[in-house]
Structures are given as structure tokens and as C-alpha cells.
């Protein structure tokens, strides 16, 4: 071997030794490859890790790698740069719509999903690019010290009524959440079955009335729960299951389900997914009713598969947004209305979102 050759090899070995610790070396096993799943982190991810991943890995021989959070901007950057490192993401419907608009998702292959499971999942959650995994809702969440139970606002009209229900309000702004125009219209007396198509101008007149009693327009649901727990706000519009989580942790917070807006976090395939069939197989596994029941016991989101309730006690079910008792007081968020492009090509999601920012900033 020439001297140069030896040096070169030594260099490669040295480089490998230096770089080694930075790569996760997996033990050799029946490893066919990995599937990268992206979710929102926290307790729910742990529950996926505990209940869904082992079953999927055992059945397919693929290994799941988890990443968080599934930022839409990151998906766009990945697809545009041709450097896609995610396969399956779980995200909310507005994000799905934004992604679909820019053709950043792969259509789902429903043939892989068990028919029995699909039969137990609400039709609203079975879309071309998205399949519901967990159900949450935008609810009246209140501080039980400043608004004792039974004396708290029981509908949006009472949330808007600061005279009889005094205390600061908290509503969303930023964080990709649409303005709560449905709540505004319900507060103005529009019946639930006449909500859509939304009377936008009427809704904004109600938003004008809300503005002076809002203590803080929160930027994330975590902040909303913090404000309500600390009593900085007495009542607000935020994710019910997060309120339940706080309640279970001992915070003085509770959830009123009446007139809540149901929505879902959904499985999607990123455009350029490496192995579509395996990815669909993963989604199929996650829709298992028994697994969804186990997850719901840990993290109080509604299971998308209604079959899960057969594995849940009445007590566990009572605190889920989709329990038979709770779900009948609520309505489904009509995301089709929000995503249909208007005459100028902008969907209500975009047009009302921009109007929201301008309305806020010009106050």
C-alpha cells in the first residue's frame, strides 16, 4: 500500500470515530427501515410510543422514529427543497387545508384501512388527504374560583355578557387558529343548524363587542390554560381536553361542553413519503379501538374510533369531549366552508385570518 493510501484510510477511520457518536447506531435486528412519524409532543406522543408503536413495529418490521412538532412551514420547506425526512404527520384541519392548497400532501389509500374501523369513525374525519386520529373541541373553559360551577357561563351569549358574568376573557389570536366566528354568531342567537355559511359581518360586529372584555388574546393553548389556571382570565375559548388535563392536575379549571366546536387532529402523508403502504399500515394500526381507548385514558382527547368507548369505563368516558353525553351538545367545525376559495382565490381561512390580524392591530 502506498503511503498516501494508508493516510487516506487512517483518515476515514478517524473521521468515523469522530462522527460516530453523532449518529444513532441501532442494533442489528429484523430492521427493514424506519418510518418517521411527526406529532405534537408531550403526553400524547408518549402514549403513541407506549400503545401504537410496539404493535406496528412487531407487525411490519419497520421502526418508528418520532419527531415534533409538525410545522406546516417546515413541510413546505422540505417538499420545496426536495429534502423530505418526514413520512406521516398528525396535524389539525386548518393546517391540512393549508398544506393541501400548496399540494404538499399525498392522497391517502383507504384500501389499506380495515373496513370495520372506518365504519366506526365519523364521516367528517375521513378526507382525501386526512384521516382523524383524535377529537378535540373549542369549549367554554373557566376558572372555578372566579366562576363557581353552576354559576359559570353555559353558552356563548353568557360568555359575551360581562355584566352578569364579570371577569376577564381570553380568546385566541395567532398560533394558526381561525377567529372564533362561530362562537360570536352563537352568542348573537344564531341557531347551531343555521351557522353555516357564516354571516361574517354579523360575526365581526359581535367580535367588536367581545374586544373590550378580553384580558389577553392568547398566542397558544398552553398560554390560555395558564391564564385560566392563574385566574388572569375567568373564562375563555380554548381546547376542552387541555382544560380537562389541567383539571386532573389540580388546577381550578373546568369545561362547559355546551355549544363546543368539534375538530380533529388527523393523520396525513407528506408528499414524497418513502413507503406509502407502510405509512398507511401505521395509520391503520393507530385507529385500533382498543389502542385509542388506552391512549384516551392517559390523555383526555376523544378517540376518533367510536368503538374505543366499549373499552372505557363510564368515569373515563365522562371527561372525554366525544362521550355520548358531551358530543350531543356540540357541533362539528365545518372546515369545508373555511377552505372553499372565494372570488379572489382566498379561502375564508385566509381572508378572515388576515382580517383578524388587521382588526386586532388597528384597534
Amino acid at each position: 500500500m502506498k503511503r498516501r493510501e494508508i493516510l487516506k484510510r487512517a483518515g476515514i477511520v478517524a473521521a468515523a470515530a469522530v462522527a460516530g457518536p453523532f449518529f444513532h447506531v441501532r442494533p442489528a435486528r429484523a430492521d427493514k427501515g424506519d418510518l418517521v412519524v411527526v406529532s405534537w409532543g408531550g403526553d400524547y406522543d408518549q402514549a403513541l410510543r407506549d400503545f401504537v408503536f410496539p404493535a406496528f413495529e412487531k407487525a411490519t418490521g419497520y421502526t418508528v422514529k418520532l419527531d415534533a412538532p409538525p410545522e406546516t412551514a417546515k413541510v413546505k420547506a422540505m417538499v420545496q427543497s426536495g429534502n423530505v425526512s418526514w413520512d406521516v404527520i398528525m396535524t389539525d384541519t386548518p393546517a391540512v387545508q393549508a398544506l393541501v392548497k400548496d399540494s404538499l400532501l399525498e392522497p391517502l389509500d383507504y384500501a389499506v384501512i380495515d373496513k370495520a374501523k372506518l365504519g366506526r369513525i365519523p364521516r367528517e374525519l375521513q378526507q382525501q388527504y386526512a384521516l382523524g386520529q383524535r377529537i378535540y373541541s373549542f369549549n367554554i373553559v373557566y376558572n372555578t374560583n372566579s366562576m363557581p360551577k353552576a354559576k359559570h357561563p353555559r353558552n356563548w351569549a353568557e360568555v359575551w355578557d360581562a355584566k352578569n358574568f364579570p371577569g376577564g376573557r381570553t380568546f385566541n389570536f395567532q398560533g394558526g387558529i381561525a377567529p372564533q366566528l362561530e362562537a360570536a354568531l352563537l352568542a348573537d342567537g344564531v341557531p347551531v343548524d343555521k351557522l353555516y355559511p357564516l354571516d361574517v359581518e354579523r360575526a365581526w360586529r359581535m367580535m367588536d363587542k367581545l374586544k373590550p372584555i378580553v384580558a389577553k388574546w392568547y398566542t397558544s393553548h398552553a398560554q390560555a390554560i395558564q391564564l385560566l389556571s392563574a385566574g388572569e382570565a375567568s373564562v375563555g375559548n380554548t381546547i376542552g381536553p387541555r382544560g380537562i388535563t389541567a383539571k386532573k392536575a389540580g388546577a381550578p379549571v373546568d369545561v362547559e361542553y355546551n355549544q363546543g366546536k368539534l375538530a380533529s387532529d388527523n393523520w396525513c402523508l407528506v408528499k414524497g413519503v418513502r413507503n406509502k403502504k407502510v405509512a398507511m399500515e401505521f395509520i391503520n394500526t393507530a385507529l385500533d379501538p382498543k389502542m385509542q381507548a388506552s391512549i384516551a385514558q392517559k390523555v383526555p382527547y376523544g378517540p376518533s374510533n367510536t368503538g374505543a368507548f366499549e373499552f372505557l369505563s363510564a368515569q373515563d368516558a365522562a371527561d372525554l369531549t366525544t362521550s355520548p353525553e358531551n358530543i350531543k351538545q356540540q357541533f362539528w367545525w365545518n372546515t369545508d366552508w373555511w377552505s372553499a376559495p372565494g372570488p379572489d382565490g382566498k379561502s375564508p381561512r385566509e381572508a378572515q385570518g388576515e382580517r383578524f390580524a388587521k382588526w386586532m392591530i388597528n384597534s
Binding site: T72, K216, T219, I361, S363
Partner: protein, 284 residues
């Protein structure tokens, strides 16, 4: 050999080259792409700029951003100048203690610190409890979700960036000069005003520019501690990217911010001279 070619072959050229290459690759190139986004969709267009000019809300956000940043800079200067002065004139031991105390906040993440202010400044927070218990106020004072909260949170984060450039310049001032002024009959106030203060101005310039530029790009603190009156351009850019995936318009807002900052910086360096602002050439 031309002047440029001579420079790159000189020692200075060799020393500056690695940093320059790094900046071109990871800063100037991406920046040029962002400027490009604001002009193409996918063909050349001025629609983003037309949209920007047509909507006063974005200029309101720009005004909010500048208002917040100027105020943060002034408050940091008022708090930081005496502190830096103390560090210059005190014993070495006290100086070490002060340095550590100023650096302590750096050890905690900015998000955690911002959330901590929510606990301290809230209606049921430490400050309001104390004020109520002492009978100084009848109702909780609004210290959050307005300019007060934003200023407290941001000055807390940015104060070290004011103190250290100030101290850097002050520590190089020969205090004998002040003593000479005193011995020639200047009262302490005059000795400070006419001798020490002018010599410390490069530090004031450097500290102010550093704090101002950092404040302009602040995102987390105004979003969490501010109200509708503190919506910044950074917030709007975040919304355009993360909510609407409108990279082109987000880039346009970024270019606006860059142009304004560049303009302000250019104005100051034109008025005062870049060397004086940054304290270059001092101590030679």
C-alpha cells in the same frame, strides 16, 4: 497588481477570508434568496409590495416594533449606564460579583423567563399582592398584556447587552483624567459631564445599537406579555409563514424590516461616524 488583488494576498485578506466565506455562505446567500422571494411568484412581480403599501396595518406593526425598541433602548441605557459606571469605579472583587449577577439571567431560557413574569406581574402576582397588602392601591394594577409588561420583560433580557459594551469602553478610560479635572477645580458633576461622559459615548453608541437591533427582532416576549398595541412586525411575519404559508409576503415584511433597520443604522453612522459608534480606534 490591482488594489483588490493586493488586499486578498495580504495578511489582512487572509485573516478576514474564513469569516467572510462563512458569512457569504450561511448569511448573505440565504438573505439574497429571501429578498428574491419578495419579488418572484414564480415570475417577477411587485404584487407583494403593492399589497404591503395598500395596507396600513403592517406599518402600524412597524411603528409598534420601533416604539417598543426605542423605549427598551432608552430604559436599558438609563439602568445600564450607572451600573457600568459602578463596575468601572468599584473594587475588583465587587466587579466580579456584579458581572456574575448580570450574567445570571443568561442561564435561563428566554421562554421560561417570560413565563416567570406572568407569575410576578399578574393580577394575583407578587407585585400586585404586595401593593394591595400595603394599601398602596385599591385594585390590581394592569402590569401585563400592555407596554409595561413588554418593557419589563425585554429590558430584563437585553440589559446585559447594554452594560457590557458600556463597561468595555469605560474600563479603558484613564480615571486620572477625571482626577486632573477635579484638581483643576471642576466640581464632581462637571468633571463627569465634561470629561467622563464624552469619553464614554462610544460605549453608549455600541450598547444602544446592539440593544436596539436585538429588540427589533424580538418575538416571544411581546407576543406573550403584550396586548394588541404591541403586535410587532415579527408577529406578522410569523403569522404569514406559519399560518398562511405565504413565504413571499413574509419575505417582503422581512425586507421592510431590514430596510428600516439599515436606514436607521446608516443615518446614525452618517451623523456620528461608524468608528465612534462602535468604539473602533479608541485606545490606540
Amino acid at each position: 497588481m490591482g488594489r483588490a488583488a493586493r488586499f486578498w494576498r495580504s495578511r489582512e485578506g487572509a485573516l478576514v477570508l474564513p469569516a467572510l466565506a462563512f458569512y457569504v455562505l450561511v448569511y448573505l446567500y440565504p438573505l439574497s434568496r429571501i429578498v428574491g422571494w419578495s419579488f418572484f411568484d414564480p415570475d417577477f412581480t411587485l404584487k407583494f409590495y403593492r399589497e404591503l403599501l395598500a395596507e396600513p396595518a403592517y406599518f402600524k406593526a412597524l411603528r409598534n416594533t420601533l416604539e417598543i425598541s426605542v423605549l427598551v433602548t432608552l430604559i436599558s441605557l438609563m439602568l445600564g449606564y450607572p451600573l457600568a459606571y459602578l463596575m468601572t469605579t468599584t473594587s475588583a472583587r465587587a466587579r466580579r460579583v456584579l458581572t456574575v449577577l448580570i450574567l445570571v439571567p443568561f442561564w435561563t431560557s428566554i421562554l421560561v423567563r417570560t413565563f416567570a413574569w406572568l407569575v410576578i406581574l399578574g393580577n394575583n402576582g407578587l407585585v400586585n399582592r404586595a401593593l394591595l397588602d400595603l394599601g398602596l392601591v385599591e385594585f390590581p394594577q394592569k402590569l401585563l398584556f400592555n407596554m409595561v409588561g413588554v418593557q419589563v420583560g425585554m429590558v430584563h433580557v437585553l440589559l446585559p447587552f447594554m452594560v457590557f459594551p458600556l463597561y468595555g469602553v469605560m474600563s479603558r478610560i484613564d480615571l486620572n483624567v477625571v482626577r486632573v479635572a477635579r484638581s483643576l477645580g471642576a466640581v464632581p458633576r462637571k468633571a463627569f459631564l465634561y470629561v467622563f461622559l464624552p469619553l464614554s459615548l462610544p460605549g453608549v453608541g455600541a450598547g444602544c445599537i446592539l440593544v436596539f437591533l436585538l429588540a427589533i427582532g424580538f418575538y416571544v416576549t411581546p407576543a406573550l406579555l403584550g396586548g394588541p398595541g404591541q403586535i410587532t412586525l415579527a408577529t406578522m411575519i410569523d403569522m404569514m409563514i406559519n399560518t398562511f404559508l405565504n413565504f413571499g409576503f413574509a419575505a417582503t415584511l422581512g425586507v421592510l424590516l431590514l430596510a428600516v433597520v439599515g436606514g436607521i443604522f446608516g443615518l446614525f453612522s452618517g451623523l456620528m461616524g461608524l468608528n465612534r459608534i462602535l468604539g473602533a480606534g479608541e485606545g490606540r
